[in-house]
Symmetry: C2
Subunit: 492 residues, 2 copies
Amino acid sequence: MSKEITSRAEDYSQWYNDLVLKGGLADYSAVRGCMVIKPYGYALWENMQAALDKMFKDTGHENAYFPLFIPKSFLSKEAAHVEGFAKECAVVTHYRLKNDPNGGGIVVDPEAKLEEELIVRPTSETIIWNTYKDWVKSYRDLPLLINQWANVVRWEMRTRLFLRTAEFLWQEGHTAHATAEEAIAETKQMLEVYTTFAEEFMALPVIRGIKTESERFAGAEDTYCIEALMQDGKALQAGTSHFLGQNFAKAFDVKFLNKENQLNYVWATSWGVSTRLIGALVMAHSDDQGLVMPPKIAPLQVVIVPIYGKDEESKKLIDSKAKEIMDNLKRIGVRVKYDNNDNNRPGWKFAEYEMKGVPVRVAIGARDLEKNVVEIARRDTKEKKAVGLDGIAQYIDGLLVDIQNSLYNKAKDYRDSHITRADDWTEFEKLLDDKGGFIAAHWDGTAETEASIKEKTKATIRCIPLDNKLEEGKCILTGNPSKQRVLFARAY
Amino acid sequence: MSKEITSRAEDYSQWYNDLVLKGGLADYSAVRGCMVIKPYGYALWENMQAALDKMFKDTGHENAYFPLFIPKSFLSKEAAHVEGFAKECAVVTHYRLKNDPNGGGIVVDPEAKLEEELIVRPTSETIIWNTYKDWVKSYRDLPLLINQWANVVRWEMRTRLFLRTAEFLWQEGHTAHATAEEAIAETKQMLEVYTTFAEEFMALPVIRGIKTESERFAGAEDTYCIEALMQDGKALQAGTSHFLGQNFAKAFDVKFLNKENQLNYVWATSWGVSTRLIGALVMAHSDDQGLVMPPKIAPLQVVIVPIYGKDEESKKLIDSKAKEIMDNLKRIGVRVKYDNNDNNRPGWKFAEYEMKGVPVRVAIGARDLEKNVVEIARRDTKEKKAVGLDGIAQYIDGLLVDIQNSLYNKAKDYRDSHITRADDWTEFEKLLDDKGGFIAAHWDGTAETEASIKEKTKATIRCIPLDNKLEEGKCILTGNPSKQRVLFARAY
């Protein structure tokens, strides 16, 4: 093996860090809580962005770009929002440095103090709705369907690569509508887009649901979410879509003349997913040998490794055959690399691409070629197989589809077998400790009970699933009457 | 006309602002010096990004992402760099807000003061080279060919939409090499990439050259640039590519073991273009009726406008024919929209798309269809022509190529006729005031003379063109001996 990875069984958390660092996805930086997204990680993000961006545009959205900075006073305009976001954030107070007159290098120029501090955006509702005020006058200007790809900053105290960093990359959609119904439909539509993306591209099965009031986005009327399950039995919120009602329209005075010439406040949504999804991807599919990338978004889908002998003639033959396979794969749109770098031996390369989770490895040796075959290894199951050269590109293309489906099914089987009902408190606690996963249990609907359960067990209500079955029951903690089960889990 | 535009003759500067605002490219924001890039402007940027990104990847570069923040001390590590960039910048001093105990809303929490201030990146050499220190150990790790798409902040006092804003979007390439020769070759290669992009995609002819020492990037050994000419005779620096020598490697102690097992400092380049290019695009091609978009990067290349009569039957026929044309255009990759919005009349639409600079407009009326023709108008020359429906998609496709070439040739003719030689000071000043453009004049090679000319005339040395002809002469200001002419201009 080229690099040591801690096993999941030994230390799950270290296993995760090893994968992110040694798999070349990201690195720590000199700035507290901020990470460097390395080329391999960024290529993954680009593939994720491309798939999402296409879906956003197919549903009528356009991209735009709003300022990085938010005047401090804007945050205060929406009462719930300020509580949620105006706490841990990066505050710009000055706009100039100068040479220290006492020779201490460069220092902040006290004369360059801003009249009003600027906050590095933790999310952009306020600056965007302040702009929409100028853009929306009449029903003809609606709906406004805008998305932004951007960096945001939340000053987290405890950070983890991808999962929780001070700065992260994301997209945030912000839409404006003439009616509540239309805004709610948009909120749900984007939840569907996220579901499709998670399941079809990331091979990540998700549960769609709605958050309880305590877990709602600060300033939202309703927060819809998709929740995924990691291999350690912890849940991870993979995307949210908020129905904001008229809260931001009222805070920023955004009104429009409707067809009947009446002045009304505009209805809003916002929705986002972030580089956090990369953390989810790592934890959902990878194993003790390294990352496992779903083919649809894998930076590299196929790697071809030559197994040279000493014979120069057979080396040429291997190179020419490999290039032929590569060209055929490229022609059908497969992302493929021929790694004939002489500095590393085949065994090193095998381990390296296994670490990086490249879905399919093709090994070509002289003896294989004599038999007109190559060795194909799939990363997910580690199965190896000699495959004939005729129609090899089509075979690999089919294999990539198969791997994508297998990853999804495996994750779904795990997830489905980790949704457990609990009907009394002892069972509930035991399940959390021993099995993990989602626990479907009755809850009396109060924020107090929710907080109390969280305090006792660190489990939160991940969501009330959409189309949840109603049934009479008793709250798992208080025994008070309940009308439905909700999904609890410990979460990232 | 739907919206009034100030003419170039009346007020060039206002004409520019009108185009940016009324053409829907950008808007002012509530944050001083920051702009909002509106969907139409952002779609243009996306097309520019896509073309550049492909060229970067085709030349072996990968994208990555580095932190938004730079510790203050990093800026001081490279002596020239700190002089150039550590002046007007956004400084983060605190990481928390809190409720004012005196009831004054939210205030900065004085207890959450950072030990070391963070600077919002004005450019990323320092944070990136601090990272490269960990990535580069041996010649095997080189070259490192990395690009970043990002936002940066420079606290400009006087701002103009796109041309000079506090926050702007850009790409910055940062590469590391084993030898000076290789780094210089990279610097020149990226200048060629920028030249190709400017000329072939933006239809913007540029002069490639090298900056004088005074105009060099802070921290560079040499700054290569492409310079374009705007319609008011002022120059605009459209892209720069810097050979950084070993300055940043020494500042951040980045060494590598070469093949001979010796420890050496790494050689560096950096290169960037920004949303400023959108300002250049606007000023290079537009006219008094609005924007003129080069087809290759136009957000919308073709708009089809129906001219309905009262007859319902002919309306259906127009719709069906328009959709047929649209489908055919889409099939060959043309970005096309059918605007059959009933709220606006054809005349309003004509003015609107003229304003937005859509290269080709197709108008379809009932009487046209009887004759089996449509009316095609090209935005650049405003020529209108009845064109037969057979093979109309191919005709339009060819027309887009023609428009792209025409725009380039027109801009090039203007530019070429605005490179003027001056051999005495009176002529030099007169040319600057009356004709503008580039003035090729002798300069004695000293920074003092350069500064003096700038002070007297506001003209700067835009560049010493690559492969400049050497000739003996006398400095335009001092009369001292000079070996070559350099290009002066007033500039954005």
